[in-house]
């Protein structure tokens, strides 16, 4: 049980850097609303506002990984 507890502790200390590509009209507005509602999300989520996520190309996601992101998500 102790071991399991230690593992859980290790998991908790891992803070992945996440790049979020968000559409200005929906996902970014939702994040804005979340802010207005005082909902919190980890500071390791870095948001990139786009006029439209239809513009996202594979290279944008790869560049985020190259820059050190552990995960990338596109919301739009």
């Amino acid at each position: 049980m102790e071991k399991k507890g230690a593992e859980e502790g290790a998991e908790m200390s891992y803070e992945p850097k996440i790049a979020a590509f968000c559409c200005t009209y929906c996902a970014y507005s939702a994040a804005d609303l979340a802010g207005s509602m005082r909902l919190q999300y980890p500071p390791t989520v870095r948001m990139v506002k786009l006029l439209c996520t239809g513009k996202v190309e594979p290279i944008h996601l790869l560049k985020a990984f190259e820059a050190g992101a552990d995960a990338v998500f596109v919301a739009g």
Binding site: E57, P58, I59, L62, K63, F65, E66
Partner: protein
């Protein structure tokens, strides 16, 4: 146009493992149209390589460049002074482009990133199909503009064979029988008598390998 497909990443990476400076060189014509070796694909491959080397803890320089065509010498002029900086050039052109790059930079290793597949057309976005086998002896005037050398797995110049099956091919039932397509095309044009003409065996003698062509206006240079 020439249609190609990118090789698996691991195969491409195996060509350049151990190199310190890599140039990924795209071609802006056919392989750019078939989304295999143009500027966007150069960016993606270069980025994948940088990520892979970084994960291995290796400090490798991966640069990107795309020229308009790798099958014409003049487009390489801008690269001449720069190529010596690199250990290896990954050419994302068709086989012709890779070979010209290798010929122009004989002191540098040039490796291919694509498998060149065929001469074809775009059926719709993201789908291409083979239309020509470059046989140097075009029959399309006789066959209603449908090539039996390419479309028929047997390359029959007189067809259909006994394996035609309700418009499909006995070799692959998912594929159309070339000679049924030809029949229907000629029928639609009111030229069905053309299918009764017996074509002599194909003259493979004209299909020399490797072929060279001189334009009539340049024949004097040949002499």
């Amino acid at each position: 146009m020439i249609v190609g497909q990118r090789k698996p990443f691991d195969e491409i990476k195996s060509y350049v493992d151990g190199c310190q400076r890599i140039l990924v060189l795209g071609c802006g014509t056919c392989v750019a149209v078939c989304m295999a070796g143009g500027e966007k694909e150069v960016q993606i491959l270069a980025s994948q390589l940088r990520i892979a080397f970084k994960e291995e803890g290796k400090d490798v320089q991966v640069d990107e460049e795309t020229i308009l065509r790798q099958c014409d010498r003049e487009y390489f002029d801008t690269l001449k002074d720069r190529v010596d900086k690199y250990d290896v050039v990954i050419s994302m052109a068709c086989g012709a482009g890779v070979q010209l790059a290798a010929e122009l930079f004989p002191h540098r290793v040039v490796v291919p990133a694509l498998n060149t597949t065929f001469i074809g057309i775009a059926e719709k976005e993201g789908v291409w199909s083979e239309k020509c086998r470059a046989c140097s002896n075009c029959l399309l005037a006789e066959t209603g503009g449908i090539c039996p050398i390419t479309i028929c797995p047997k390359g029959l110049v007189n067809g259909p064979c006994g394996g035609t099956n309700h418009g499909k091919c006995e070799v692959d039932k998912n594929k159309d029988c070339a000679w049924t397509l030809i029949y229907r095309r000629l029928e639609g044009q009111g030229r069905l008598e053309k299918i009764r003409e017996i074509h002599p065996p194909k003259n493979y003698k004209v299909q020399t390998t490797p072929a060279t062509i001189w334009h009539a206006a340049y024949r004097e240079e040949e002499a």
